[in-house]
């Protein structure tokens, strides 16, 4: 090793000698180490070599010499150069204190690189100016403020945490005086996983959790949207809260078996909830009453043409036959209200839903419209498409409006609050602010779609209410193969007059998304026949 030849040290050529020998055709190097031309696109090469005469001190962890640049203008880059590597005592003290890493742009490289002559590994944050936006940016995105929870919320968090730790699937957050529950806390519920039984002669089995969430006897005003992220929610109780509406996204809780929303301030249910109340769904228990629901102004309503109306409005049912017996809820349509048409959040039709927050009982009665008639304001009626009476395909058609597109973009802004401040400062009318609030609320609770065409919609322009009757239904499938027989048995859930009709609100995104007009019956309408279970 020691007698390995070393690279020859190039004698420093003087300018004079260079000019004599090469007559200026070759590049000359001065005595000073060359300064690197910053216009070269990449860093100079760094290489190390073992060509040190003092190679016998490998044991002391000698660092290899490092050279920067081309071989002919080599000079040590690392601190232990050839001179200092003779012994540790002779090593000069480090001259430069550790410098901050500086980023410097090599202009044609397109890459930001640290300067090579500083050997520090400390990661320094880049001091780049944030891009200038016309909207106010979040004040200090780097500072993450730990949210402060109230005592009640902290209590809830503790309970959820203990459920996670113990693998218990029943989360009992009832009667905690919660006015709201932050999503960050409630999202923890989805972390719950059951602890599998480990015993002799029992096969190890990983099963999906079936989470039961009890939020009853609190003061929640808004449906906590984090619930939608809990995949395996089977029981949800929101009994005795102050909810005024259920979000349409509740239909995404496909695993729900029990739903209790009694003793709230609900006036209607979202029509999307009906997707949990049809054959094949898992929901087997639902508690809706008491709630200040809208009621029809006619006590015993029932009308024909329900099937025609449903197929015409929402497209043909995907009726793919039951292959196994099923027990759950179904609904049957009793009546519907006229359609409320609105234009820029002002109602333009004669029929209008009451807007007062607390309603006396007599105002909760809504008028009805026969399924074969459809009242459309004159100015709109003439302009609707000619296909009004056709059975519509249920698919979104056409482009969303610019207003809605812009609203969606605004709501998606990271700093929504200051965007709203800008909006209310700039605009004279509070139409925008109201629309913005609405959009923000809807995107918080998981979106809202048009019931007819299925398009996302923030400001529905048509709204009507279907009164439906809940039935417990059992389907018993007998036989097999070709001779499969389905027997449907339905029984009314409630015969009590007040709880008979349950209102489901339907929302349409355009003036074309309205109920289908059933054909006028020639005979008087028959009562629905219900067979006993």
């Amino acid at each position: 090793m020691a007698d390995e030849p070393t690279l020859p040290c190039l004698p420093p050529t003087s300018r004079l000698a260079a000019s004599l020998s090469n007559a200026g055709r070759k590049r000359t190097r001065g005595l000073n180490p060359p300064t690197y031309n910053l216009s070269t696109s990449s860093d100079p090469a760094v290489f190390s070599s073992d060509d040190d005469p003092a190679l016998d001190n490998y044991i002391h962890g000698r660092r290899k010499k490092r050279y920067v640049g081309t071989w002919y203008d080599q000079h040590p880059a690392s601190s232990d150069s050839a001179d200092s590597a003779m012994g540790d005592d002779m090593r000069p003290p480090p001259l430069k204190p550790r410098q901050q890493r500086q980023f410097k742009r090599r202009f044609d490289s397109g890459v930001w690189m640290a300067q090579t002559d500083v050997s520090t590994d400390a990661d320094e944050s880049m001091d780049l100016d944030p891009p200038v936006s016309r909207l106010p940016l979040p004040v200090s995105p780097s500072v993450s403020l730990r949210p402060r929870y109230s005592a009640e919320e902290a209590n809830a968090q503790r309970i959820i945490q203990s459920c996670i730790d113990g693998g218990r699937e029943e989360v009992d957050l009832s009667a905690l005086q919660l006015c709201s529950i932050p999503n960050a806390i409630l999202e923890l519920v989805s972390l719950i996983a059951p602890i599998p039984t480990v015993a002799k002669d029992v096969a190890f089995e990983q099963r999906d959790p079936s989470i039961k969430l009890f939020l009853s006897n609190n003061s929640l005003r808004q449906f906590p949207s984090a619930i939608f992220n809990v995949d395996h929610l089977t029981v949800l109780s929101l009994r005795a809260n102050r909810l005024t509406e259920l979000p349409p996204a509740i239909a995404s809780l496909k695993n729900l078996e029990t739903l209790n929303i009694a003793q709230n301030k609900l006036r209607s249910l979202p029509g999307e909830l009906l997707s949990l109340m049809k054959a094949g769904s898992k929901l087997t228990d639902i508690q809706l009453h008491p709630n200040p629901f809208y009621q029809p102004n006619v006590p015993n309503c029932s009308s024909s043409g329900a099937d025609e109306y449903e197929q015409g409005t929402f497209g043909p049912k995907d009726d793919d036959g039951m292959c196994e017996s099923w027990y759950g809820f179904t609904t049957s349509l009793l009546a519907r209200t006229p359609v409320q048409f609105s234009n820029r959040s002002t109602v333009v039709s004669r029929f209008e839903f009451p807007t007062v927050s607390s309603l006396p009982t007599h105002l909760r009665k809504l008028e009805l419209e026969e399924l074969w008639s459809l009242e459309i304001p004159k100015a709109i009626g003439g302009q609707l498409g000619p296909h009004l009476d056709d059975v519509r395909e249920s698919m979104p058609k056409g482009a969303p409006s610019l207003f809605e597109l812009a609203l969606r973009a605004a709501v998606g802004h990271p700093d929504r609050e200051s965007a709203k401040c800008v909006l209310s400062e700039q605009c004279v009318s509070n139409h925008f602010a109201a629309a913005f609030d609405r959009a923000a609320h809807i995107s918080d609770v998981g979106g809202q779609t048009c019931c007819v065409c299925g398009r996302d919609t923030i400001m529905p322009v048509t709204e009507w209410i279907e009164f439906r009757e809940l039935q417990r239904t059992q389907v018993i499938v007998a036989g097999s193969g070709e001779s499969l027989v389905e027997n449907w048995y339905s029984v009314r859930v409630s015969n009590n007059g007040d709880e008979h009709c349950v209102p489901f609100v339907r929302r349409g995104c355009s003036w074309n998304c309205i109920p289908f007009k059933a054909s006028e019956p020639s005979e008087p309408s028959k009562d629905l026949e219900l067979s006993e279970l």
Partner: protein, 122 residues
């Protein structure tokens, strides 16, 4: 672009001018999607005669996006499952105002869209 033979009042194109002087030549049919423009072009207004609509409150940047939307809508009137048009976040608030000005809000979506310019009468 405007055809000279029909005169500006019947030409296939109209010109939209922004506050900072940018001019956009738009197919008339697409521009009529906006009830506001439709009303401008309808009667004996100077816009109807010259086919030139000046919007002194709307900057070129915003008007460009509006024109883009007009074409986007025009192209996708009856196309199912249209992908949303990109709206840059920094423009969304001004575009909200512009959408309100051009009456391109949710009510006009659908096939009812094309003929909505008349005042609602009940």
């Amino acid at each position: 672009m405007a055809t000279k033979s029909d005169g500006p009042s019947n030409s296939k194109y109209i010109t939209m001018v922004s506050s900072d002087g940018f001019e956009f030549v738009v197919i008339r049919e697409a521009s009529l999607i906006s009830p506001t423009i439709k009303a401008m072009l309808r009667n004996n207004f100077s816009e109807a005669k010259t086919g030139r609509c000046v919007f002194p409150d709307i900057s070129g940047l915003v008007l460009e996006k509006v024109v883009e939307y007009l074409y986007y809508y025009h192209k996708n009137v009856n196309v199912p499952y249209v992908p949303d048009m990109e709206i840059p976040v920094e423009l969304c608030l001004v575009l909200l105002e512009a959408a309100d000005y051009f009456q391109l809000d949710s009510v006009t979506v659908g096939t009812a869209f094309r003929s909505m310019g008349d005042t609602l009468k009940f």
